[in-house]
Amino acid sequence: MRSIRAAAVGAVTLSLALAASACGGGSSTGGGSNDAPKTLTYWASNQGTSIEVDKKVLQPELDKFEKQTGIKVKFEVVPWSDLLNRILTATTSGQGPDVLNIGNTWSASLQATGALLPWDAKNFGKIGGKDRFVDSALGSTGVTGQDPAAVPLYSMAYALYYNKNIFADAGIAKPPATWAELVADGKKIQAKGKNVLGAEGANVSENIHHVFVFAKQHGADFFTADGKADFANDGAVAAVKQYVDLMAKDKAIPKGNAEYAQNQSVSDFAKGNTAMLLWQSASANLKNQGMSEADYGIAPVPVQSGTPGAGAQANSMVAGINMAVFKNTHNLDGATKFVKFMTSDDEQKILNKAYSTIPPVKGAQSDPAFDTPANAVLKNTLATSAVALPQVAAESQFETTVGTAVKDLFADAAAGRTVTTEAVKAKLLKAQQQMPAK
């Protein structure tokens, strides 16, 4: 009995000591080391149509890497719903993977935590130099003027997917190049009893991607040049209103899409219920849902007038996945080698083909697989008319606040309320006030 009590007293003391030490801080702040040169852990984002598909794509490549270097990569495919939370907890605790994928729009936000290895000239040198990567992709790797927090891995761009049969049926000769044309074509499509344009009204990130490009087309931005939130300027208000009006006024987006957040709009398109869809790299997904490649065409996303290009003619965000290394990795050399391997020309070709994405590596882009009509559109958009989302530390909060505001506006539109300029402005102002003061 006495020994039990002694043990109990010890346990209490221990737990108090732990509690005290916990108050001292969450994680080790030290840099990387090479304590564990033979293993790596890797968090891959979910790129394929299912997690199991991703495993099948990645496993052979990782085996290849092990054969080349003797380093075993333990990997986990993290669903998108979990990824940011997992990265956040890993950052807080210092217990994370060595290498991980991040959505490229998060680069600046995660860079601000200081948890990711900066890619200075020396580190870039180890993977073949910065010049190997496409400029637009590098534009979404962290705050301008600082060393990138990540390296581009897969690139994507928005395109207009249209159903050829519905277009033929409605007597539309070519996909719309401007928003006015899209709305006009929409009337013809509706006359045939089909939905015009699919959207994910309750998906916060999708909303951001679209209103951001609309803002560019109105010559505006959501942040000032020195990185301050400026959500309610006239251009931004007009941009958000134009997007929501596609449902509220133009009736191009069906009301039901206001509650979509799980890619239901892709299913609708694949089933032939919707004539058009703005999506990034939907090919593999559409194929998986049984839509034949012959049934749909791919065109650049419409602009206000004229042809896509720089500035106000932008028609897509730079979408993509970046690869980052956790600063406190125990296998810094191995992690760098792994990034080098994954961004090598050969691997880039294999992986981007598997995911129907565009390689951000110049040397891999020359592969004929990326010159099919579909990929040519994406490649061209990335090269000429895609803009990176704001590279500011508060980007993640921007996605949440403004994305939610747009979601609420869609809900209003779906409920049959008219969406006025004042209402949009009020919502955006409220979103702006919720941003952190500093």
Binding site: S15, N85, T92, G114, K430
Partner: protein, 333 residues
């Protein structure tokens, strides 16, 4: 809850006299120290776990609420600067957007909780009273009624989400297509109706617990009371009003409190139904705080909000116990 336990144990003790097995003489009578130590030893595992999982984290959480814990500092939160009561000031400033949103969410939660607890209690009690007598199929019905409570939250709520879809859901199919009650299909997962959607799911899931507890409580009502009332010529409704409901008072006291706390703090239901950003009309406080901390990466403000919530619950529970136990005493006397 605490009040009941205390008064009940007190009652038991005064009725039977306090008693400790260690004090009984027997062949293996434990020594004095062990006798004093034993209850503590029995409590030790529970105490340690409470300390580890509840109390120490709570202290850490309170500490965090006084820090500026944004994305710039989460990597090593010990070095995050102290921000005094800034987080609290931000949270309660109802003229600012953060405080305003918190207040809105708080009011939504209060309205939701009151309605949900009220409905759960009313349905559960009615069903329990109706099923007090035996009739054919009673056992089966009781089993059926417990299914919502037994189903894992995730499975139940995702099914409701499926039914509440705008285009393809059962609810709109029935209300609009079949019964023609609405001019056009309604939205349940976004906009103002989301409040009712959430309430429906919450009541569906919660009322069987009230049913279960009231059913158990009914069995503790002495049969003689009804007989005496019947002799006095009281009809069935009068019996329910004069005997059943007053006798259920102590049961209800506990039941309502437990339901209140569970509903108020419920995170699983809104999170599974609406995802990470709930519609304004159904922005329950637990999800609101989750969003304030995890989605916008401001853990200091999120912690301050949780501490305020905890204080509110402590005050409400304290007042509730004070009022209801006083009422009980007068009723008993």
């Amino acid at each position: 809850m605490t009040g009941t336990v205390r008064s009940d144990t007190a009652k038991v003790r005064s009725a039977r006299g306090d008693f400790s097995p260690g004090a009984v003489r027997g062949p293996r009578r434990p020594g004095r120290i062990k006798r004093i130590g034993l209850p503590y030893l029995l409590l030790l595992p529970a105490l340690l776990l409470e300390l580890l999982v509840h109390l120490v984290p709570m202290v850490i959480g309170i500490t965090m609420s006084f820090k500026e814990l944004t994305q710039f500092y989460i990597r090593d939160w010990g070095t995050a600067p102290w921000s005094g009561i800034d987080n609290y000031r931000l949270s309660v400033d109802v003229n600012g957007p953060v405080g305003d949103a918190l207040l809105h969410s708080f009011l939504v939660t209060v309205a939701f909780t009151l309605l949900s607890v009220g409905l759960c209690w009313a349905i559960g009690t009615t069903a329990a009273i109706y099923m007090q007598d035996t009739f054919r199929g009673r056992g089966l019905l009781r089993t059926v009624f417990l299914i919502p409570y037994a189903l894992p939250v995730y499975a139940a709520v995702i099914t409701w989400a499926f039914m509440f879809q705008h285009d393809n859901g059962l609810v709109n199919h029935v209300l609009h297509d079949q019964l023609h009650l609405t001019d056009q299909p309604s939205f349940w997962l976004i906009g103002d109706n989301s409040f009712y959607a959430l309430l429906t799911v919450s009541v569906w899931k919660g009322w069987p617990f009230a049913f279960l507890i009231v059913m158990a409580g009914l069995q503790n009502i002495p049969h003689e009371l009804y007989e005496a009332a019947a002799l006095d010529g009281a009809g069935l409704w009068q019996q329910i009003r004069r005997i059943t409901l007053p006798s259920l008072r102590p049961v209800n006291q506990v039941l309502v409190l437990v339901l209140f706390l569970w509903t108020f703090n419920d995170f699983n239901t809104p999170y599974v139904l609406f995802g990470k950003s709930a519609p304004e009309a159904a922005d329950l406080i637990s999800v609101h705080i989750y969003q304030s901390s995890f989605v916008t990466w401001n853990f200091g403000t999120g912690s301050a909000m949780s501490v305020l919530l905890l204080l509110f619950l402590l005050v409400v529970t304290g007042l509730y116990l004070l009022l209801t136990s006083r009422g009980r005493k007068t009723a008993d006397a």
